[in-house]
């Protein structure tokens, strides 16, 4: 953490206006962090994200790996004795980082979400069969998947699913896809 800190309280004020997330209620008990199943890969623990958000340390929060590593399991929000909506605040930061053009510390996680919503926009429902290939392309992993042979594992699984009648081969388009498109565009 930085040796000298100039708190910027407007950062949290803005977040709370969009929430509320009740972050200012945090008394740093670390119950959120102690129950977090994804903490082993985090660069900031959930309680640290809350603390830094209160102090307005925007860069540290938005550039952290943690906001993308968070598995959205809701254990923290459920257990916080002060009603801090930690998981929801993590989502708010993800969205903010994308909207303000901060490059995500876990680009593959972010691009999967984007690919998923792009897929929904096309037909109104998710077409699982198209999701992975589209994401490999978008995230630039297709080449390395082929070179490393990793794609073989995926193909084997897909084939097995297909044999068990568990792989739809064509997308389903709903009548209201324009409505769905409008929801995903306007927001």
């Amino acid at each position: 953490m930085q040796p000298s800190l100039s708190p910027d309280f407007s950062f949290l004020q803005k977040a709370e206006a969009a929430g509320p997330f009740n972050a200012a209620e945090c008394f740093q008990c670390r119950k959120c962090t102690n129950g977090c199943p994804a903490s082993f890969e985090m660069d900031l623990f959930p309680d640290q994200v809350i603390r830094l958000a209160i102090l307005g340390q925007k860069e540290e929060v938005l550039r952290s790996r943690t906001i993308w590593i968070c598995a959205s399991c809701e254990t923290c929000s459920t257990r916080c004795p002060n009603g801090v909506r930690i998981a929801e605040l993590m989502d708010y930061f993800k969205e903010m980082s994308i909207r303000t053009g901060v490059s995500p510390a876990q680009p593959h996680v972010a691009s999967l979400h984007q690919t998923f919503l792009g897929n929904v926009r096309l037909t109104g429902r998710v077409f699982e069969g198209g999701l992975l290939p589209a994401w490999w392309l978008k995230s630039g992993q297709l080449g390395s998947k082929i070179r490393s042979g990793g794609i073989r594992n995926e193909m084997k699984m897909a084939l097995k699913l297909f044999r068990k009648g568990r792989l739809a081969t064509t997308p389903k388009t709903i009548k209201g896809k324009a409505e769905v498109g409008a929801i995903l565009r306007s927001s």
């Binding site: 590593i69 996680v109 919503l117 929904v120 009648g165 209201g176």
Partner: protein, 285 residues
């Protein structure tokens, strides 16, 4: 009895096995499933992660359509869909509604997590009286995952740290539910594709505990939990050098099996870790 039904996207694809077992079981218990006409994707983790407005308006559209049917109950098998529908209802009914397109009708059906629907006193009674082949001697842990219980302010769950629905169902079917500490620990479904390494660690921990408490199999009600614990089990075994050999079965498949529904053996044959040898050993198939 007629109910409104929201299957969600994966039940049309990779969770077709779950969908078939639900349809079979509901039919045999006289529950008529009326699908929400022209339903759309609930937005899943992607929407709530990076597009808050859509994460309310996408399920909001489904609720609006559900409100046009005349049923008192809305059954939702996918816990993530359930969670997002509840979150939308919560936000649109209790929040100020600003910034969202959806206008909800005044009367919404009760939104049910499917396992909870089957674990009411009345349904358990029906299960017990329909028993043909009790699951005698079958030791099972119930794995609930995250989304049917958390956060309780949204889901309305009161036993969110120690849910009971699946345990009660297993018991009603004559099986032996085993208590264990990882009922609601996260399997990392939202990370399984983009951070497979993390998903493997999270699933490995759960499978190891199931094994440690002496379970012969795992009962689930979530198709994401099912595929995470099932499809990757062999690869996790190879990476960790541990053996689990745990079939991961939907509670609806077990209902089918215990109540002697003809489709059940077929539903159970569509997983990766084959449950059939275990069921044979227990003379259930």
């Amino acid at each position: 009895m007629k109910v409104t039904y929201y299957p969600g996207c994966s039940l049309e694809g990779t969770a077709r096995d779950y969908a078939d077992s639900i349809e079979g079981v509901c039919e045999s218990f006289g529950i008529e499933l009326q699908e929400i006409p022209d339903w759309n994707c609930c937005g899943s983790t992607a929407a709530h992660s990076i597009n808050h407005t859509a994460s309310i308006d996408l399920p909001g559209r489904n609720l609006k359509l559900a409100g046009q049917l005349n049923n008192a109950d809305l059954l939702v098998p996918c816990p993530l869909c359930f969670n997002r529908l509840k979150a939308a209802a919560h936000e649109l009914q209790e929040g100020n509604g600003h910034g969202f397109q959806t206008k909800l009708p005044p009367d919404l059906p009760k939104i049910w997590d499917l396992a909870n629907f089957f674990a009411t006193g009345e349904m358990l009674q029906k299960l017990s009286s329909g028993l043909k082949k009790p699951l005698e001697g079958l030791k099972l842990v119930s794995y609930y995952g995250c989304m049917s219980s958390r956060p309780p302010k949204v889901t309305g769950a009161d036993d969110f740290e120690n849910p009971q629905s699946l345990d009660k169902i297993v018991k009603a079917l004559g099986g032996q539910p085993i208590d264990w500490p990882y009922k609601t620990d996260c399997c990392g479904a939202s990370l399984m594709i983009s951070r497979t390494d993390m998903g493997f660690k999270m699933v490995g921990k759960i499978l190891e505990m199931a094994r440690r408490v002496g379970a012969q199999g795992v009962v689930v009600s979530c198709q994401m939990c099912q595929s995470n614990l099932d499809m990757y089990q062999e690869r996790i075994e190879a990476e960790t050098g541990k053996f689990f050999g745990l079939p991961i079965m939907y509670f609806t498949e077990l209902i089918g099996l215990a109540c002697g529904l003809p489709g059940a053996p077929n539903w159970l044959s569509r997983h990766f870790v084959d449950p059939i040898p275990l069921l044979r050993k227990n003379r259930l198939i």
